[in-house]
C-alpha cells in the first residue's frame, strides 16, 4: 500500500497546474466572468495536452491513464476554476469524433442541468427541450432539462475531484488573507476565531482528499458516493468559511472567493444532488 502520489502522478499534477496558471490565470478568469464565451484556443491546448483523452486507452489514441490521474487533473481544474464542459467532453472522448483532441466541444445533461450547451458542438443525450437559465455562476452557462439525465458515476467522481480542488484553493485563499490582512494591530490570522475557521477548512479538505483519491483507486460505488458527499461539503462549506475570513473584501465581484462558492453550488447539484448518495450509503450498511 502506497497511497501517496507516485512521482509520475506528482509530475502530472505539477504540469497541469503550470499549464492552467499559464493559460487560465486571473486575467482569463476575469474575462470569462465578464460573460465571455468558451475559449476554443484554450480548449485545443487542453486537448493537445491530453486533458480529454486521459482515460482513453492508448490503442484508441488516448493517454491510457487511470482514474487516479484523472482525479489529480480535475482537482487542478477545480482549483483553477477552469471553465467549459470538461467532464462531458472527456467522457465523450473515443465516442464523439474530435472530443479527445479538443476540436469538438461536448455538452451533456447531468441531473437536471446542462452546462455550456450553447457553446458546444455536440450535446448528449437528448437536450432538445433544454431551456436556458440565468446561471448563478458567471463562469458556467446553464440550461435546464425536463427529465433528469441518468447519473454517470465517473462524472460524479470527477466532480468530486473538482470540488476537492475548490476546497484546497479556498483554504489557501483564507490562509493568505488571514496572514496579510491586519485589524486591531495584527494579522487577523493571529485571532483564534480566524485560526479555527482556517483549521476547519484544512480538516475538511484533507478528509475529502482521502475519500476522493481512494474512490479513484477503487472505483467502488460506495467510495464514489462517500467522496462526493465529503467533497461537496468541503467545497461549499469551505467557500463559505473562506468568505467569512475575507469579510467585506471577499464580497466584491472582483474577489475570487464567490466564484468558488458559486461553482461549488453548481457542482453540488450535478447528478441530481447528494441525497441519492446518502441513500446509497445507507443501503450499503445493510448489504
Amino acid at each position: 500500500m502506497r497511497f501517496q502520489l507516485t512521482e509520475d502522478q506528482t509530475a502530472l499534477r505539477r504540469a497541469t497546474r503550470d499549464l492552467l496558471e499559464r493559460r487560465f490565470g486571473e486575467r482569463e478568469r476575469r474575462a470569462a466572468a465578464g460573460g465571455g464565451s468558451l475559449d476554443r484556443a484554450l480548449w485545443r491546448t487542453l486537448g493537445d495536452a491530453g486533458f480529454f483523452a486521459l482515460c482513453l486507452p492508448e490503442r484508441d489514441g488516448g493517454v491510457g491513464l487511470g482514474f487516479p490521474e484523472a482525479v489529480l487533473v480535475f482537482e487542478e481544474a477545480g482549483r483553477a476554476l477552469l471553465t467549459g464542459p470538461l467532464i462531458a467532453t472527456l467522457r465523450a472522448a473515443g465516442e464523439v469524433p474530435g472530443a479527445a483532441s479538443g476540436e469538438t466541444v461536448v455538452a451533456a445533461a447531468d441531473g437536471w442541468t446542462v452546462e455550456w450547451l450553447a457553446a458546444a458542438d455536440v450535446a448528449r443525450p437528448d437536450t432538445a427541450d433544454a431551456v436556458a437559465v440565468r446561471s448563478v455562476d458567471p463562469l458556467t452557462p446553464l440550461h435546464r432539462v425536463a427529465r433528469a439525465a441518468r447519473v454517470d458515476p465517473v462524472a460524479v467522481l470527477l466532480t468530486a475531484a473538482e470540488q476537492l480542488g475548490t476546497a484546497v484553493r479556498v483554504c489557501e485563499l483564507a490562509v493568505q488573507h488571514a496572514r496579510t490582512r491586519e485589524q486591531f494591530g495584527r494579522p487577523i490570522g493571529a485571532f483564534q476565531a480566524v485560526q479555527h475557521l482556517c483549521a476547519g477548512l484544512l480538516v475538511r479538505a484533507e478528509t475529502a482528499r482521502a475519500a476522493v483519491y481512494a474512490a479513484a483507486v477503487t472505483g467502488a460505488r460506495t467510495d464514489i458516493a462517500a467522496a462526493r458527499l465529503l467533497a461537496d461539503e468541503a467545497a461549499v462549506d469551505g467557500a463559505r468559511d473562506c468568505l467569512q475570513v475575507h469579510g467585506g473584501m471577499g464580497f466584491t465581484w472582483e474577489s475570487e472567493v464567490h466564484l468558488h462558492l458559486k461553482r461549488a453550488w453548481v457542482r453540488a447539484g450535478r447528478g441530481g444532488g447528494g441525497a441519492a448518495a446518502e441513500e446509497a450509503l445507507a443501503a450499503a450498511l445493510t448489504a
Binding site: 437559465v133 448563478v136 485589524q183 467569512q244 469579510g247 467585506g248 466584491t252 464567490h258 444532488g273
Partner: protein, 377 residues
C-alpha cells in the same frame, strides 16, 4: 409577561392597516433594480406618503411597541421597506435626534422624514472593517471648516445620497477611539468621488467614496470633536438592535412560501426537507419572540437597544442563511437560476454574518460585555 397590546396600539394597528389598504394599490410598481434614480424616487415617494398620513417618524420617534406594530403591518401588507431612506431613517436620523443640537435636528430631520433627502454611511474603510476604530480618513481643521482626505467603502446608496454620515479622524495622536469625529457631509461637495462597487450578488448597492480635500463646515459635526466614537456606538446599537424587525416578518413569510412551493411540486414528501422547514419555523418563531422581548425591554428601558442586539444579530444572521439554504433545497436545480425566487436573496444573505460586525466580533462582544469574560487580545 404580556404579549397583548394596549387598546391604543391596537387602534393604531387598525388605522394603519386600513390606510395601507388604500395607499399600496396606488404605489408605482418597483423600477428596474439597476435604475438608481427611479428607485430613489419611489422610495422617497413612499416615505412622503407615510409622512403625509402621519406615519413619517415611526422609525424613531414612537414607542418601541408602536414601531413594532408599524413594521409588522407594513411588512405583512407587502409595503416597501425603508430602501434608499435606510441610513437616514435608521442610522443617521436617530443619531442626530439623540446627539445633535436643536439646530441640527431642525435642519436634517424633517427632510429625512418628508422623504426629501437621502443619507448614506461613510464608516468602513478598506483598512478599517471589523476594526472600525482604526479608520484613517483624516480631517484637518481650517478655520470653521474641516478639510477631509481619505476613502470609504461599503457605502450604500451613495450614488443617490444627499448627505453622508462620515467618521473622520480629527486627532491622529489620541488613542484610537479618542480622536474620531462624526460629520454630516454633503455628497455634492467638491472633492467627493463615488465609484460603484459590484458585489458578489452582481448588484451595485454599495460604493466606494473617495474624499480629496473635501471642505465640511465645523457646524456639521454632531457631538463634540473627538467624541465621534461614542456617537457612533449609539448608531451601531440601533443597527444591531431592532433594525431587523421587518426582516423577521419577511423571513416568516418566505418560509410559508417555501412550504407552499414544496407542496406544489411534491418535494413536501421528502421528510428531511419537511422537518428542516419545521425546524426553521421554530427558529423564526423564536426570533420573532426574541424581537418582541427586545422591543419590550427597550420600551421599558428608554428606547436605545443595548448589547442584547448582538444576541439577536448573531442568531438571526445565521438563521437567515439557513433559511435561504433551505430555499435552495426546495428549488433543487432552480437554485442555480438567478431568475428563481429567493436566489438573489440567498446571495445577499451571505453578507449577514459579516456586515455591521462579523459573527466573530459579535461573539466577542457577547462574551466580554454581556458575560463579563476577561478581555482577549
Amino acid at each position: 409577561m404580556d404579549l397583548s397590546h394596549t387598546p391604543e396600539d391596537e387602534e393604531f394597528r387598525a388605522r394603519l392597516r386600513a390606510w395601507l389598504a388604500t395607499a399600496l394599490p396606488v404605489l408605482p410598481p418597483p423600477p428596474d433594480p439597476a435604475d438608481w434614480p427611479a428607485r430613489r424616487a419611489r422610495d422617497l415617494g413612499w416615505q412622503r406618503a407615510l409622512y403625509d398620513a402621519g406615519y413619517g417618524e415611526l422609525h424613531w420617534d414612537a414607542s418601541p411597541t408602536t414601531r413594532l406594530i408599524f413594521l409588522e403591518e407594513t411588512e405583512a401588507a407587502g409595503a416597501p421597506y425603508v430602501g434608499a431612506n435606510f441610513v437616514g431613517l435608521l442610522h443617521a436620523g436617530p443619531t442626530i435626534a439623540a446627539e445633535g443640537t436643536d439646530g441640527q435636528r431642525r435642519r436634517w430631520l424633517p427632510p429625512i422624514l418628508r422623504g426629501e433627502e437621502v443619507w448614506c454611511q461613510g464608516f468602513s474603510e478598506p483598512g478599517a472593517g471589523s476594526d472600525l476604530a482604526s479608520l484613517r480618513t483624516r480631517a484637518r481643521r481650517d478655520g470653521d471648516h474641516y478639510v477631509v482626505d481619505g476613502s470609504k467603502i461599503w457605502t450604500s446608496h451613495a450614488e443617490v445620497a444627499d448627505w453622508c454620515e462620515l467618521l473622520v479622524r480629527t486627532d491622529p495622536d489620541a488613542p484610537r477611539h479618542r480622536g474620531i469625529s462624526w460629520l454630516a457631509m454633503p455628497m455634492d461637495a467638491p472633492g467627493v468621488t463615488v465609484r460603484p462597487l459590484r458585489t458578489l450578488a452582481g448588484s451595485a448597492e454599495f460604493a466606494e467614496v473617495f474624499l480629496d480635500g473635501v471642505r465640511i463646515p465645523v457646524a456639521n459635526r454632531v457631538g463634540a470633536e473627538n467624541d465621534g466614537w461614542r456617537v457612533t456606538m449609539v448608531t451601531l446599537s440601533f443597527e444591531r438592535g431592532t433594525a431587523f424587525v421587518g426582516e423577521v416578518v419577511a423571513c416568516r413569510r418566505v418560509l410559508r412560501e417555501l412550504a407552499a412551493a414544496a407542496r406544489r411540486d411534491g418535494r413536501w414528501d421528502d421528510a428531511v426537507l419537511r422537518r428542516r422547514l419545521g425546524r426553521l419555523n421554530a427558529e423564526f418563531l423564536a426570533l420573532w419572540r426574541l424581537t418582541q422581548w427586545n422591543v419590550s425591554e427597550a420600551a421599558a428601558g428608554g428606547g436605545v437597544p443595548g448589547v442584547g442586539g448582538s444576541v439577536f444579530k448573531l442568531r438571526y444572521s445565521h438563521a437567515r442563511q439557513d433559511l435561504y439554504d433551505a430555499a435552495a433545497d426546495v428549488l433543487g436545480p432552480g437554485a442555480l437560476d438567478l431568475d428563481s425566487p429567493w436566489v438573489l436573496d440567498r446571495l445577499s444573505s451571505l453578507s449577514y454574518t459579516i456586515a455591521a460586525g462579523t459573527s466573530q466580533i459579535q461573539r466577542t462582544i457577547v462574551a466580554e460585555r454581556m458575560l463579563g469574560l476577561p478581555r482577549g487580545r
